[in-house]
């Protein structure tokens, strides 16, 4: 095996681990924005989902005899449920109350870490919630034997990777091939036209925001399981990075995948560049690589915004009397 191949086999699983939460959370935000509600509360919802999900995992680790991966799966679902419930606040304010969506999202972003740290410090006397398990799957039996794909996708992976892939495919099909998907897309482009055809704008927008809440909540748990063995009240800007993925991906699922791959790659480079000979010679501070996704998003925005693919009605409360 050549050195380059070894490097690729080493980096690829790391990139996938970063890519999965980014792509999932961005896909959720896509559902919210294409239904017409801007959701910059992703960061807060991820924290809330991560907090509740990790609490559940910690509880199950100590009080049950479930299989490790079953515990992880339960945690992911609990996190998704927590994110879904939490996003209701944003949905209620921005859909029913016609509030400024940026302000209500900002409130959520501040509330989640404050609550998580407050509760953690009250219960555990530290902001950290420590879980014992290491949820890495070293090798998937049989499948890891497949040449090329085996080492790329089925070694050093997480259960969330496979769950994430399934969710991503299912939701992409829903968006483009079902009646619900068409309605969601129409609510974000021209809600009045959709309304005149009998679509319940409020209901569709709630569905959009709640999907984004569930995925962001799950993303929060994935973040902790993939990168740490403890939760300390933050997802270090991953929610906002997912927002950048959504914009960089121009509100299309397939492009979100490319964007997530690029952003994840930069993240991995930032933490492993000292082991990569070419980059070692350049010797830039790791912050440069961490900054790059944001700078790239700004550049894309400034060159594409004249013909941006952003949903036209995103950010505007629906007012049936306004044509």
């Amino acid at each position: 095996m050549s050195e380059t191949a070894a490097m690729i086999y080493f980096l690829f699983p790391l990139v996938i681990a970063s890519m999965v939460p980014l792509a999932l959370v961005a896909l959720g935000a896509l559902f919210s924005e294409r239904s017409g509600v801007i959701n910059i509360a992703l960061e807060g919802i991820m924290v809330m989902g991560g907090f509740v999900g990790i609490m559940a995992i910690r509880y199950l680790e100590q009080n049950s005899v479930m299989h490790m991966q079953a515990i992880a799966l339960t945690g992911l679902l609990v996190g998704a449920a927590a994110g879904l419930v939490f996003s209701c606040f944003h949905a209620f304010a921005s859909i029913h109350m016609k509030s400024n969506q940026i302000i209500s999202a900002t409130a959520l972003n501040l509330f989640a870490p404050a609550l998580a740290i407050f509760v953690a410090r009250t219960i555990f006397l530290s902001r950290r919630i420590v879980i014992s398990g290491n949820y890495l799957i070293r090798e998937v039996p049989v499948l890891s034997e497949i040449p090329v794909l085996g080492p790329l996708l089925f070694t050093r992976s997480y259960i969330s990777t496979y769950l994430g892939i399934v969710i991503f495919i299912v939701l992409s099909i829903i968006l483009y091939k079902t009646r619900l998907g068409l309605r969601i897309r129409s609510c974000g482009e021209n809600p009045h036209a959709a309304d005149s055809l009998g679509v319940n704008i409020y209901k569709i927008r709630y569905i959009g925001v709640l999907i984004s809440g569930a995925l962001a909540g799950m993303g929060g748990v994935i973040f902790v399981l993939s990168f740490a063995t403890r939760f300390d009240g933050t997802v270090v800007g991953f929610g906002f990075l997912a927002l950048a993925v959504l914009i960089f991906g121009q509100w299309r699922p397939s492009r979100i995948l490319y964007a997530a791959f690029f952003f994840a790659f930069m993240r991995v480079i930032a933490s492993t560049y000292s082991g990569i000979p070419v980059l070692q010679d350049i010797n830039l501070p790791s912050e440069v690589y961490r900054m790059l996704p944001y700078i790239a998003t700004l550049v894309v925005l400034s060159f594409a915004s004249k013909r941006s693919r952003a949903p036209r009605a995103a950010g505007e409360p629906y007012d049936a009397g306004k044509r």
């Binding site: 016609k98 940026i102 501040l110 740290i117 800007g237 700078i295 915004s305």
Partner: protein
């Protein structure tokens, strides 16, 4: 008899309120604060019922716990928040949402500390240069989303979010490259000549950390009040905020105004960053974490109805809460309860239109007249 008198007095008060739409906005702001405090109280009761009430009173009256010292510290904690609040409020008034206050603050803080560490040759002008440097860095950082908005039609919220993170990483990187204190793994301290002067304030508020930042905050609030309400420049900025196309049609240079507005807004946040770190005992750290003061500024701008005077009062009120949170640890509560309260207040400020309708509806029901609602903050 007495009851009836009281009732008529109440109705007359309501009638007066109905005549002045701003008052309805003020009431809805106060309601938002009350809701925020209530949620805080409920959480405290759940966590520790026995200590909840004294703890809650500590938060409310934190500004006066130790007399003059606490009042001085309230001002000290309030000043950066007043400035980020003014920053966000100024942008609001001109139709822009500056969610990038935290990034501008970070750049301002770094620049001020850098000058504070390195430019000791300036002697007595040292602190002023550091302050000015912070202001300019913030202005520059605020100017970028302004330019992108004006010339490339990029939404300022998205651009500012990206710039927040760029500023955060840049701060970490620059500290480590330029002003790193290996021993404590943080930025070096600014020289004593770069610290903001205290003047007579230490004898007025003995034992507190208050410095001339409070005068800067008062001065800038007054300046903004004059600019927004008494000058052609302010009038143009507000017009562009209300309706960009109409302002353009009226012959105003709407692009220039968008850029200027974001630049001024950024300068205010940059100043906040400089004031926060040009003191003894506070250190800039190379941690990849956004500074919360920028986001708190959004709450303060909303509560203050985007008017400089209102923002100043709301900011000092926040300083009091922060003080209260500091004393709260005596009662076994974690100071994060303050952040919870603030976030709930922001949430209810987002519902302000609903709250205003609610207040107006109540008044209408009582006095049977039409009540006008005015969106106080000027945000659409």
């Amino acid at each position: 008899m007495k009851q009836a008198e009281q009732a008529t007095l109440w109705i007359r008060l309501l009638q007066k309120t109905a005549e002045r739409p701003t008052r309805i906005s003020v009431i809805s702001s106060i309601l938002a604060i009350i809701f925020g405090l209530l949620v805080g109280l409920i959480i405290m009761v759940i966590v520790n019922p026995g200590e909840a009430l004294p703890g809650f009173l500590t938060i409310l009256f934190g500004a006066f716990n130790e007399g003059l010292r606490s009042i001085g510290n309230t001002l000290y904690f309030g000043v950066p928040i007043v400035l980020t609040g003014l920053s966000v409020a100024f942008a609001f008034r001109t139709g822009l949402f500056n969610i990038g206050a935290t990034g501008q603050l970070t750049m301002g803080a770094f620049t001020a500390v850098y000058i504070g560490v390195n430019w000791g040759f300036l002697g007595p002008l040292h602190w002023a240069a550091a302050l000015l440097g912070g202001m300019l860095a913030g202005a520059l950082w605020g100017c970028i989303p302004g330019l992108l908005k004006a010339f490339r039609n990029v939404h300022e919220v998205v651009a500012s979010i990206m710039l927040n993170y760029i500023a955060m990483y840049m701060n970490t990187m620059l500290i480590q490259q330029l002003i790193y204190n290996q021993q404590y793994a943080r930025a070096m301290s600014p020289q004593p000549s770069a610290r903001l002067p205290v003047w007579f304030l230490d004898s007025l508020f003995p034992g507190s950390s208050v410095n001339i930042g409070i005068f800067i905050a008062i001065g800038l609030a007054a300046l903004l009040h004059v600019i927004l309400n008494k000058t052609v420049f302010g009038y143009e900025l507000k017009s562009v905020g209300f309706n960009r196309d109409a302002a353009k049609y009226a012959g105003m240079n709407e692009k220039r105004n968008v850029v200027l507005s974001m630049t001024i807004s950024g300068a205010l946040s940059g100043t906040a960053g400089a004031i926060m770190f040009l003191v003894a005992g506070k250190h800039l750290e190379p941690v990849n974490q956004l500074m919360q003061e920028g986001f708190t500024g959004i709450a303060i701008a909303l509560l203050g109805l985007s008017a400089p005077v209102g923002v100043f009062l709301a900011g000092i009120f926040y300083g009091g809460l922060e003080q209260g949170g500091y004393y709260l640890q005596l009662y076994d509560f974690m100071p994060e309860i303050i952040d919870i309260i603030i976030s709930v207040i922001i949430y209810f400020s987002a519902l302000s239109l609903f709250l205003q309708k609610f207040v107006a509806g109540y008044i209408r029901q009582k006095i049977g007249a039409e009540v006008e609602i005015q969106e106080g903050s000027g945000i659409k």
